[in-house]
Amino acid sequence: MENQSKPTVVLGVIGADVHAIGNQILEHALKEADVKPVNIGVMSNQQEFVSAAVETGADAIWVSSLYGHGEMDCRGLRDKCKEAGIGDILLYVGGNLVIGKQSWDDVKDLFLDMGYDRAYPPGTQPETAIDHLKEDLNEYNLEGEINAASPAY
């Protein structure tokens, strides 16, 4: 029962990116925060994110990208979600998203324009995104079940 009402997050590292450590820490942090992680790991393509989200009825997709190709890899994920019938799913993205030192505000706008709900710069603690997740899910307040499961927020 309790498992069913936990929010579920699909997480992974997109593209040809093999950075594995942050991904493992994020999974651990989600578990600690009573969120169910569905970790598809490194080197995952957009379709793998979407399929995992459909299969698990996930509440959010968290995309990580550390190697600089984020701009090319992340484009179009919102459309793929729409095609799969999960157009409203929360999409977060974080990491070293572009090549070179660019203003974070510009980078953030770039990814929000691509259809991501939230974008995070390098060095963000897992707790920051987890707090946002809980806020965002509260707003959606899906049938009240998330509130009932975790009265702490």
């Binding site: 593209g15 040809a16 990116d17 093999v18 594995a20 450590i21 493992q24 820490i25 651990h28 790991g41 490194v42 080197m43 550390l66 190697y67 600089g68 190709h69 701009e71 090319m72 070293n96 998203l97 572009v98 090549i99 070179g100 030192k101 390098p122 060095g123």
Partner: protein, 485 residues
């Protein structure tokens, strides 16, 4: 197991496979091996990596080398020339982009086109296969230093063909070190076999009188890797390369942050590799070492990042490494500007110059670290050889299956992932969990004691939380991840 063996590939078999390799992308057809060997021979002496490394080894220098690569050749030359002239680099790299590393040449092509349209690099490195050998040669001819290919490619056969014919004189990677930390589901048998091809190619150049240097990738996953774990991989890749005819080898280690342990690591890497290569009958190998400045998370603040860079430069110089791979003050933000890259180099140059004539005293603590690393490496390699029934290639595959070799935090499903490292109370990296590593009891007891000491000091049990604290620590301005609050 297939017929994987640590045995020099017969020439006929090699040339047959070569035909297939060159067909994987149209630029492969331009490679003519005899012509390429002549091109390599005609390179001026100051552009040959092996010669420069040997000179440094004799003179007790620690050379400095950046990482750098962009999508387009003109911009690449501009960047690398800047790192030479303004950054005072001794050796140059060309870092290859991540699509090429996965043999995704179509995506790399798109990256080249977008980079041309956008007027900035959309790739995190240079797609050398797509550009082909003539463009590689233009790059080499426009530069004044030896240039190494640095990448992370599980199947790097075509890349090796093109870049070696293109005038590069050093090639990084190996069947283990460019698989386990760089791939998710590529079998170790395949990558060991594919890297035997790369080593055979470079061995072939060697037979024709061209000294190309090979460098297994030392730091692996780059975060809290115990020295013995990376040494085992480096030595195995050295043995595999030597069998294929490679003569010039640079073995590497990634800084952990405790000075005594880091110095012990470079000293033992040299001693152990020399001993294993000689024992196996490869007695004409020219060995050098590379020390990688801290490969884990960096502070955002640039001054703090310079401190991490400088500490790495210090350890590199005091350990007597032949070269040091340099980080930049933009490390926490991703790929650096050329200015940031040059400034990391200059900070490093200042330190290696100042420390050129100094070394660390051989103290009891340094001896203890060295002794511990040697015991661990020998215990693991004994078991690898036993599992392989005398064959290092077979033994490596079986050792990974059994968790006898195990790399922390690696993405590959062919890695057990059972061992867990953590820092002790003076910041040296120990095993919190030794998994299936065949370590002697006294070695295990030593690691347990060191971690118990820290646990007592911090008044907490050593758990995964401690490991996470250690992973973030340097980024947050500390070496050891002490409890929060």
């Amino acid at each position: 197991m297939s017929n994987l063996k640590n045995k020099k590939i017969p020439e006929e078999e090699f040339f047959k496979e070569r035909e297939e390799v060159l067909k994987a992308w149209p630029t492969g057809e331009d490679v003519d091996l005899d012509e390429a060997i002549q091109y390599q021979k005609d390179l001026p002496e100051h552009k040959k990596m092996s010669a420069r490394l040997m000179q440094a080894e004799e003179e007790g220098e620690t050379l400095i080398q950046p990482r750098a690569g962009v999508a387009l050749p003109d911009e690449l030359v501009e960047l690398l020339s800047y790192l030479d002239e303004e950054g005072e680099a001794d050796l140059l790299p060309v870092t290859i982009d991540s699509y090429t590393r996965q043999n995704q040449y179509k995506e790399a092509e798109q990256g080249i086109e977008e980079s041309q349209e956008m007027g900035r690099s959309m790739l995190n490195g240079f797609p050398a296969v797509n550009h082909g050998l003539e463009t590689c040669r233009k790059v080499i001819e426009s530069l004044n230093l030896p240039v190494q290919v640095r990448h992370g490619t599980p199947d790097a056969r075509l890349l090796a063909e093109i870049t070696m014919a293109g005038g590069f004189s050093d090639y990084e990677g190996g069947g283990i070190s460019y698989n386990i930390p760089y791939a998710k589901k590529v079998s170790l048998e395949d990558t060991i076999r594919d890297w035997q091809y790369v080593d055979r190619l470079i061995g072939y150049y060697q037979e024709q009188g061209v000294d190309i240097n090979r460098e297994p990738f030392g730091p692996l996953t780059g975060t809290l890797v115990p020295p013995a774990v990376s040494h085992v991989v480096a030595i195995l890749e050295a043995l595999l390369a030597a069998e294929q005819g490679v003569k010039y080898l640079t073995l590497g280690y990634g800084q952990n942050g405790n000075l005594v342990q880091d110095v012990a690591a470079i000293q033992t890497l040299r001693e152990l590799a020399d001993s294993y290569l000689t024992d196996e009958g490869y007695d004409d190998i020219k060995l050098t070492t590379v020390f990688h400045q801290w490969m884990g998370g960096f502070p955002q603040d640039e001054s703090k990042a310079y401190a991490v860079i400088s500490w790495g430069a210090t350890a590199a110089a005091l350990s007597g490494a032949t070269k040091v791979i340099v980080k930049t003050p933009h490390e926490a933000m991703g790929i650096p500007t050329k200015e940031a890259n040059a400034s990391g180099l200059k900070a490093t140059k200042q330190i290696v110059n100042m420390l050129k004539d100094q070394s660390l005293e051989q103290t009891a603590k340094l001896d203890r670290e060295k002794d511990m690393i040697k015991k661990e490496v020998r215990a693991i390699l004994d078991k690898v050889k036993e599992l392989g029934e005398g064959d290092w290639a077979k033994g490596t595959v079986r050792a990974f299956e059994a968790g006898v070799i195990d790399i922390p935090f690696a993405p590959s499903k062919f890695n057990k992932g059972k061992i867990l490292p953590a820092r002790d109370n003076i910041g040296a990296v120990r095993y919190l969990n030794t998994g299936n590593l065949p370590l002697p009891d006294d070695v295990k007891a030593f690691h347990e004691e060191r971690l118990a000491e820290r646990g007592e000091f911090e008044d907490r049990e050593a758990t995964f939380q401690m490991v996470i604290d250690d992973i973030y620590a340097i980024g947050k301005g500390m070496l050891i991840g002490r409890p929060r609050e």
